[in-house]
């Protein structure tokens, strides 16, 4: 039978070109209900609607043929005529006309792109297509004998987008034998495995990623014969029937799977994997059709499933996306779908017993099988649809269907979504369908629009929802728009519909339409987009250097733009070797400033890695976060700037970071010079070195001329020597200590400003000598390291007055101090006679107060009384009497002093003292006396104020006592 097809493209509308179907179509009308045709009409694909409507009136049934398949759609007109009142579904006919019914489910196969490439014959090539509308890698298949036309003998690896636009190409020159497997990973790296097990990796720009990996020695020796890839992994089969696996391409670590134990003469018929995420062990499992059964292999074990259970020799296996079903093509041409326990769900007898070239799951409820020119779709319950292809195709499984790539087009086989079915199914009277129809009436100003709406009022929200949902599933922009308009029209009449639902869908569709543009060539369905997620899509766009679109999308979706801008900047640097630093910096800054908080340091680090250190330095200058900036400056050897920035930040931790870095890198003197110029760094260095690097610190001070600091260090060392048990008191090892102090003394005397310290060091050395001598003469190790005053006191306590006197003269101790020291020392040993004698030696330079105080302090009232009368100041006298509880004398002295404040205080002190009850009478006198004084106005406001303050203190003192 001959069928004529007429190509009627809009441009050549008037001219009719006649063409012939090159191959006989097998049983072309077996699907139709009728066996004859009235006529064949040629339809302009863009004018379906009009023509079909015309024909509709004349015919009961229409069969539509398109160029490479028979899109059998049988219109059952009578069904639509059942209810004359129901709205006409005619507007929807054209949509449903392209669907195929597989039992109770509709499938459709819209064309996504006509391929833009030229002269590509898939049959001559090895092809790897990434899922989620990813790129297509093509390389001439070196396992086939092909005729070379006007092309180089060298093979080229070419990478296209899904619309067939060339992204990159590179010459394939790798050794290692034939290319066995080629596939894209999840992050869109192209993995190529050659015969000897070497793995080459490419990015979408056709750049080979270093380094290469090997599948291991065994693979190298045995030759790889087959590879099965999944998400981010691969299983390789060698000639010797051994299996090797790379579980994750992010970390390429090949491992060997359990040995199947089959000889090389009976390699498996077919191979498939269950992805690790669906296995119990969490490791990949490999299904092999071996002999007359199936073998399941993982890292540790091998399980055999015999023929009885499987039901025949398995020629081809495909695992469903969820890892729960197997589609097996048997030796006898049966397709058996079973679960993982090998219980079969349905069988389908194919016409051919030859195994299909390709087999893939389409969604979860049908399987596609491809032979040379037929694509057979088998659904549950043994239904099938076949498509005729007169050119080779590649099946690309997706989460919600299968893409079909041929030399000329990219199509997408998909189960028609429920919402779409409810709207466009012929004869549908669902609310959604009526709503859609209502819009049509509305547009045509027909009153039926209102009628339709009334019919579905109750279920309006669900109708709107269906329209929105269906819009999401459409690839055709005008149909998306019509559906959304219908939704929006319906929404106007329903109060309780989530309003942002339509808005959300519009947003999503805008993004999808943008990436579906052939120039971008990512034909994502809405389901795929949801599964992939927007951030991953952005990642793919920027990897493909579609930065502008990525930026627009992030902006549109309100996502963080940092990742896009950052990637752009890095890519820009890599690609702009010819642009001078300053110009490139301008270009970069212009974009980087779009993104607040972006890490300039990260971009700078990239510039540095790209060998542009100067640019890196310029960029890092713009990094506001010193914690990021400073380490980078160090890594590009900008230590001085790093030190400056660290200091500016005020973060001492950063300063230390730089400090240690420079310390390690530069010779000591240069290091000293650097930090001497920076006070904070210098001070921090000193703090650290004081604890840990004493000698080094000394070098620093010497080199910077800070002799006094060296002197202090030496002086400090002298004490550390003193702590050493070897130089314990009285030992002759005091020598080195004294030497150190003398050295310090000399250093101090180098500068005028440190005469005081110099003198002190000198005296200290002298003191140590004297103390040492004293310890030798007294044989008591109690002198060293006490102060001059203490040394004098100790001498006096020991009764060695001559030594005390010697120390006094040696250090020019003032008379005042001498008196205090001697008085207190004598009181300590309670040598009252000596004290009295001392008081009479001559008139004490500071009066008798010291004598009184020491006696009172040790509670020797009698002794104190010897000296109290000698006190010159009556106030002192009064207080002294008061302290030893002699109230009357105290009062007398106080009144002599005419000091109201004093009196008041004394009064209070005795009032609190219960032991002094006998003096109460006297106190009463004092009270009246006090009253008189107050009347006399003694003690002004100010003294009153002080008195108040004191009263409180005294009060507390006595309370606490």
């Amino acid at each position: 039978m001959e069928v004529r097809l007429y190509d009627f493209s809009p441009k050549t509308a008037k001219k009719i070109r006649v063409g012939f179907v090159r191959k006989e179509i097998r049983n072309p009308f077996s699907l139709g209900a009728t066996n004859y045709l009235d006529k064949i009409i040629v339809i302009d694909p863009d004018r379906h609607d009009v023509l079909l409507k015309n024909e509709e009136e004349k015919h009961d049934q229409i069969v539509i043929l398109t160029r490479n398949s028979i899109k059998t759609s049988v219109i059952n007109k009578s069904k639509t005529l059942i209810s004359p009142n129901s709205p006409s579904p005619m507007a929807n006919v054209s949509v449903a006309a392209e669907w195929q019914l597989l039992r109770n489910r509709y499938y459709r196969k819209p064309e996504l792109y006509p391929m833009r490439w030229k002269h590509i014959d898939l049959s001559r090539n090895k092809v790897a297509c990434a899922p989620f509308g990813g790129p297509i890698a093509i390389i001439r298949d070196d396992s086939k004998i092909v005729q070379l036309y006007a092309e180089s003998a060298l093979r080229k690896l070419r990478i296209f987008n899904s619309a067939g636009i060339l992204l990159s190409e590179t010459v394939w020159k790798h050794p290692g034998g034939r290319l066995i497997g080629m596939s894209w990973t999840e992050d869109q790296t192209l993995i190529c495995i050659v015969q000897d097990g070497t793995i080459y990796r490419y990015n979408v720009h056709g750049e080979c990623l270093e380094p290469n990996f090997s599948m291991g020695k065994d693979c190298f020796e045995q030759n790889v014969v087959d590879c099965v890839f999944w998400g981010n992994g691969v299983v390789c089969l060698t000639e010797a029937g051994k299996l090797f696996c790379v579980p994750d391409f992010k970390e390429i670590r090949p491992c060997k799977l359990a040995e199947i134990g089959i000889g090389d003469e009976e390699l498996p018929h077919c191979m498939a994997v269950i992805e690790p995420q669906y296995t119990v062990s969490g490791n990949v499992e490999v299904l092999l059709g071996v002999g007359s059964g199936i073998v399941i292999v993982d890292e540790d074990e091998v399980r055999f499933v015999d023929e009885e259970k499987v039901g025949g020799v398995v020629q081809k296996i495909a695992v469903s996306r969820n890892g729960r079903f197997l589609a097996c093509f048997m030796h006898d041409g049966r397709l058996v779908v079973m679960n993982m326990e090998f219980r079969d769900f349905f069988k389908y007898q194919c016409e051919s017993a030859l195994p299909p070239e390709q087999m893939a799951w389409c969604g979860l409820d049908s399987v596609l099988l491809y032979w040379d020119d037929v694509l057979l779709m088998v659904g549950p319950s043994e239904d099938s649809v076949s498509y005729i292809y007169d050119e080779p195709v590649i099946l690309i499984p997706e989460c919600d269907g299968v893409r079909i790539l041929s030399n000329t087009s990219m199509e997408f086989v998909q189960r028609v979504p429920d919402s779409t079915v409810s709207i466009f199914k012929i004869g549908s009277t669902s609310p959604a369908s009526l709503l859609f129809d209502a819009l049509d009436h509305f547009d045509r100003r027909s009153a039926k629009a209102d009628e339709n709406l009334r019919l579905i009022r109750a279920s309006l929200p669900e109708a709107v929802e269906a329209c929105v949902d269906a819009a999401g599933h459409e690839f055709d922009v005008s149909r998306q728009r019509t559906l959304l308009r219908a939704a929006s029209y319906g929404q106007a009449f329903c109060s309780n519909f989530q309003r942002d639902r339509i808005q959300e869908m519009c947003k999503t569709l805008r993004v999808l339409n943008a990436v579906r543009d052939p120039e971008i060539g990512i034909p994502l369905s809405i389901e795929q987009y949801k599964l992939l997620s927007a951030p991953v899509l952005i990642g793919r766009l920027i990897n493909a250097h579609q930065h502008l679109l990525a930026l627009r999308i992030t902006e549109y979706l309100g996502m963080n733009q940092e990742v896009v801008v950052m990637h752009w900047a890095c890519a820009k640097i890599t690609a702009s070797l010819a642009i001078p630093d300053a110009a490139l910096l301008e270009i970069l800054l212009d974009k980087l400033k779009l993104c607040k908080g972006i890490s300039y340091a990260a971009v700078a680090a990239h510039a540095d890695r790209s060998g542009r250190r100067k640019l890196a330095a310029m960029l890092v200058d713009h990094e506001p976060r010193s914690s990021k900036q400073v380490p980078l400056l160090l890594s590009i050897s900008e230590e001085d700037t790093a030190l400056m920035k660290a200091t500016e930040s005020g973060d001492t931790d950063l300063v230390y970071l730089v400090l240690f870095h420079i310390w390690q890198k530069r010779p000591a003197l240069e290091f000293f010079g650097t930090i001497q110029a920076r006070p904070l760094a210098r001070d921090l260095f000193i703090v650290y070195a004081r604890c840990y690097k004493h000698e080094f610190l000394k070098d620093f001070f010497l080199s910077t001329g800070q002799l006094q600091e060296v002197a202090f260090l030496l002086w400090k060392e002298s004490w550390e020597l003193g702590k050493n048990p070897m130089t314990s008191k009285g030992s002759p090892l005091h020598g080195p200590r004294i030497k150190l102090i003398e050295k310090a003394h000399n250093l101090f005397s180098e500068t005028k400003e440190h005469t005081f310290e110099s003198k002190a060091a000198e005296e200290h050395a002298k003191l140590l000598r004297i103390q040492h001598e004293l310890e030798v003469t007294t044989k008591q190790p109690i002198f060293v390291d006490s102060s001059i005053s203490d040394t004098i006191k100790t001498c006096i306590v020991l009764g060695n007055h001559r030594a005390a006197m010697k120390v006094k003269t040696e250090f020019k101790v003032s008379e005042k101090r001498w008196y205090w020291l001697k008085v207190s020392a004598l009181a300590t040993i309670r040598d009252w006679d000596a004290l009295e004698k001392f008081s009479k030696e001559k008139r004490p330079p500071i009066g008798f107060r010291p004598f009184v105080e020491v006696c009172i302090d040790v509670n020797e009232k009698g002794e104190a009384l010897k000296y109290i009368p000698k006190l010159a100041d009556p106030r002192e006298k009064a207080e002294a009497y008061a302290r030893i509880g002699m109230a009357k004398e105290a009062a007398d002295a106080a009144s002599q002093a005419k000091d109201g404040e004093l009196l008041g205080r004394l009064k209070l002190s005795f009032a609190q003292n219960t032991a002094a009850s006998s003096i109460f009478d006297t106190l009463r006198d004092r009270l009246s006396f006090q009253g008189q004084l107050a009347e006399m106005g003694i003690g002004g406001h100010r003294t009153g104020f002080r008195a108040q303050k004191r009263d409180f203190a005294v009060y507390l003192a006595f309370r606490a006592a």
Partner: protein, 557 residues
């Protein structure tokens, strides 16, 4: 066991701040599975006890120990150190680990730095070859709420490190702490700083805001309206002078209102009432101490009591009275010779060094240093009496400018007059000025705060120039552009009240420490009817004359 301060009445949500810190610590412990020995830096244990109950730590499988030179005695195989970044502590840790390895003990070591890890400490671990054995982490405890209006950054040595060693790490830390507060309470729109360190902190704070902006929505009003930063250096006087009577009274008063009733706070504004308060409670200090112990109160509080007890033994000494007199005389700065003789005599009598130093510092400050002859003489007498090892301390004090040679005429009398620091007329019946609370002396810092709150620095530029260090004033954030807020920042106190009747907040940060006396003074200010602000106090540490002076008392030996 310590009691965690009650923060319910805090003007800002300090509780959430504290809960955050609690959670962070618990998470650290939870992430280290199983039983572990938590070795705590003794100086941190005070701060920690204000944050979290030790029982909670134990519940998370932590055995608590204090870090010291002694090796850790525990069966646990996991040892978690919680330490400040300090060299000496690193040495302890290293020696512990060395000891364990020499005994063949295999343990897992974790070192958590508070508040953050520092290169310099890790360097020490590296030099001691233990770096590979240790897992390093950080516990970002920057702020510890001591009371509902007092925050501490727990930096004991900030003053000395900055002034003597030139190590300004603490300034970064303070800025970070404030920045952290800002991330909870919004960017503080007004910042006023006086003193070198304060101006630097304001700088760093700005730097941080530029580096990692606090991202609060522009719609949210910042909870804290003004930040006032004041250097201890500007006002060493009020920290060094003892004001013994007042402080003692203040502490006991503070105890009362914390332990007994909150209401006393309002009542306690007049001194007279407090006197009666004192007599009616009729307890000796030691009784109070027992009382407090029974209440399981704060270690902080026990410290107050200790201090009070210490002071009371001091007051019982005869010399106390003359000393008090002398302080007054020093502040009045009128009789140089008397002061000089008095201090010289104290040295001759070898009175406790700290108290001598405090007077000496006071003497030096009020005279803008001492004439060279006297300066050298007193220093010589000090070394002779207390030993030559104190030369290091003298150098420290000189570097810090606390004890120095006179180079110019003292401007203290001018400052005193301009800021009315010594108030002679006080109306006892109706006190309105802080000077009343302080026996006639108004602490300089508090006067500055008063001015800064009321009108900003501008009207008092002249006086500020007399005080050491620069000053700065700035407006921050996108807030100043919004008209509604710029009126809020206006000078008039009336508009400063937030619409809902709450008063707007001022955070006063004392860099180098704050005394209880100053805190009380600020509370007094805050309690004034005419005051338009609530005050919150932030400080590196609560100090008194002794603790502050002690940080400088480094010996050569």
């Amino acid at each position: 066991m310590a009691q965690i301060p009650n923060l319910d009445n805090s003007p800002i949500n300090l509780k959430s701040l504290r809960e955050q810190s609690q959670k962070e610590l618990v998470n650290i412990l939870k992430n280290i599975r199983g039983k572990k020995c938590l070795v705590i830096d003794p100086k941190l244990s005070g701060s920690l006890s204000l944050i979290i109950q030790s029982t909670i730590l134990r519940e998370n499988g932590a055995d608590l120990q204090h870090l010291s030179a002694e090796p850790v005695d525990t069966d646990c195989t996991k040892v978690v150190y919680l330490v400040r970044s300090e060299f000496s502590l690193m040495r302890f840790i290293c020696s512990h680990i060395h000891k364990d390895t020499s005994q063949g003990l295999q343990r897992e070591y974790y070192v958590y730095f508070v508040p953050r890890r520092e290169v310099v400490c890790e360097k020490v671990l590296e030099e001691e070859n233990v770096h590979n054995l240790v897992t390093v982490g950080e516990y970002p405890l920057y702020v510890v709420p001591l009371d509902e209006d007092v925050l501490s950054f727990e930096l004991d040595l900030a003053n000395k490190e900055c002034l003597v060693d030139g190590n300004t790490g603490s300034l970064w830390h303070i800025a970070k702490a404030i920045h952290k507060l800002e991330s909870s309470f919004g960017v503080i729109p007004n910042v006023r700083a006086k003193g070198k360190a304060s101006v630097r902190v304001a700088d760093i704070l700005n730097h941080m805001q530029a580096e990692e902006p606090v991202t609060t929505s522009d719609m949210i009003m910042p909870e804290i309206n003004t930040l006032i930063l004041i250097d201890r250096e500007v006002n060493d006087l009020s920290s060094v002078a003892s004001w013994l009577n007042d402080k003692l009274f203040k502490e006991i008063r503070d105890l009362n209102f914390e332990v007994v009733v909150q209401v006393l706070r309002q009542k306690a504004t007049s001194m007279k009432q407090d006197y009666t308060e004192m007599t009616t409670t009729n307890q000796t200090v030691s009784e109070l101490k027992d009382f407090v112990k029974k209440l399981n109160s704060l270690p902080e509080m026990t410290r107050h009591i200790n201090l009070a007890q210490h002071l009371s033994t001091f007051t019982s000494k005869h010399s106390f009275l003359s000393r008090l007199d002398m302080e007054q005389t020093l502040v009045e700065a009128q009789s140089y010779d008397i002061c000089f003789d008095y201090i010289e005599e104290l040295i001759h009598k070898q009175e406790p060094l700290v108290s001598v130093l405090r007077l000496l510092i006071l003497f030096s400050i009020t005279n803008s240093g001492l004439p060279k002859k006297n300066f050298d003489h007193l220093r010589r007498e000090l070394l002779h009496s207390y030993g030559f090892e104190h030369i290091a301390m003298l150098t420290n004090l000189e570097k810090a400018g606390l004890l120095k040679k006179q180079e110019s005429k003292s401007n203290w009398p001018t400052i005193k007059r301009a800021l009315q620091l010594v108030v002679e007329d006080t109306d006892t019946a109706n006190p309105t000025d802080i000077a009343y609370v302080f026996s006639g002396y108004a602490p300089l810092s508090i006067r500055l705060v008063q001015h800064a709150v009321r009108s900003g620095w501008r009207p008092m530029e002249e006086i500020l120039k007399l005080l050491p260090g620069p000053h700065s004033e700035m407006k921050r954030g996108g807030f100043s552009s919004s008209p509604s807020i710029s009126t809020l920042n206006g000078a008039s106190a009336a508009v400063d009240r937030v619409a809902d009747g709450r008063r707007s907040l001022v955070l006063v940060v004392f860099i180098g420490g704050v005394t209880f006396a100053e805190i009380s003074a600020l509370r007094f200010l805050s309690a004034q009817e005419a005051m338009a602000y609530d005050l919150i106090i932030g400080t590196t540490k609560i100090v008194n004359g002794n603790t502050l002076t002690e940080t400088y008392m480094e010996k050569l030996s």
